[in-house]
């Protein structure tokens, strides 16, 4: 199977993460901001899986039956679990917000300032 340098995955992940950050900074819609946070989480997941495979490939040459690198993929699994829980609560908060101020514009959420 073809091998890819780890750097490609690092740069892909960095680019996705930066796009997520630009989205959080530029948009005012709370739901879009939330989606950009999901995008950043996924960028990290890609990097974790790539490093897991890199780590595994180094150990694979010595021992064909090694399970090195499994932990990273389980870590990604737990990140997905926590992200799912986070999304339910976050969307409930956004719905409550919309019910109170009839908008999801984050510029109206400056009441703590006054």
């Amino acid at each position: 199977m073809q091998v890819m340098p780890i750097n490609y995955y690092i740069f892909l992940s960095v680019a996705l993460f930066t796009i997520g950050i630009v989205g959080v900074l530029t948009r005012r819609n709370a739901i879009i901001i939330f989606m950009c946070i999901e995008l950043m989480l996924n960028a990290v997941n890609v990097l974790l899986v790539a490093f897991s495979k890199m780590h595994h490939l180094n150990a694979f040459a010595a021992d064909q039956l090694t399970t090195v690198g499994t932990e990273a993929q389980l870590f990604v699994f737990f990140i997905m679990v926590v992200a799912a829980a986070e999304v339910t609560v976050g969307l409930a908060i956004i719905v409550m917000l919309y019910r109170n101020i009839h908008s999801v514009d984050i510029n109206f959420l400056n009441r703590l300032k006054h």
């Binding site: 890819m4 750097n7 389980l74 926590v82 719905v95």
Partner: protein
């Protein structure tokens, strides 16, 4: 150019383009659909790395469940495109500049790292559900059970937050 390399570049281009479209499309529904495209591209990357379990979980949990939840909420709110006022031009330029500066710094810091010789490929079978499940239910069984408690509390929290209070003043339209 071998097939897996062509697939890698195709999926990378698809992921980056879709991610840009998530940020820059005006309609929130379109943003959700583009984000689903990003998740499909990332699942393709997982398959290329032979992490089949994560690929299918990514599709089922993210593209299937979470994005449907987003779509429900957006359609519940009945948002239209002109409802969202944009940030001022200066704020957008500042955000783009700071994001670009972050990208520049990260790329400059990582471009000639020692790991440049490290490689990744689809070899090995740690990403298969058999091996992951064995480790998950032996070494990581306690975090797994704790995550079920987390889900329960998230569910209760969502219900409590979403419930309309009886004595609160009715919303005035």
């Amino acid at each position: 150019m071998p097939l897996s390399e062509i697939l890698f570049w195709f999926l990378t281009a698809l992921a980056l383009f879709s991610a840009l479209m998530v940020v820059f499309s005006d309609n929130p529904i379109h943003s959700v659909l583009w984000l689903i495209m990003v998740f499909f591209a990332i699942s393709g990357h997982y398959i290329l790395m032979n992490a089949q379990f994560l690929a299918i979980v990514n599709l089922i949990v993210y593209a299937g469940a979470i994005m449907v939840l987003f779509l429900f909420v957006i359609m519940l709110m009945n948002m239209n495109t002109d409802a969202e006022p944009q940030k001022s031009q200066w704020m957008r330029i500042a955000a783009a500049v700071s994001g670009g500066a972050l990208l520049l710094i990260l790329v400059a810091a990582l471009k000639d790292n020692a790991g440049a010789v490290s490689r990744t490929s689809g070899e090995g079978s740690i990403g298969l559900i058999r091996n992951l499940g064995k480790v998950l239910f032996t070494d990581y069984v306690l975090p797994f059970e704790i995550s079920s408690v987390l889900f329960l509390s998230a569910m209760v929290g969502a219900v409590v937050l979403g419930k309309r209070e009886k004595n609160s003043k009715p919303v005035n339209h």
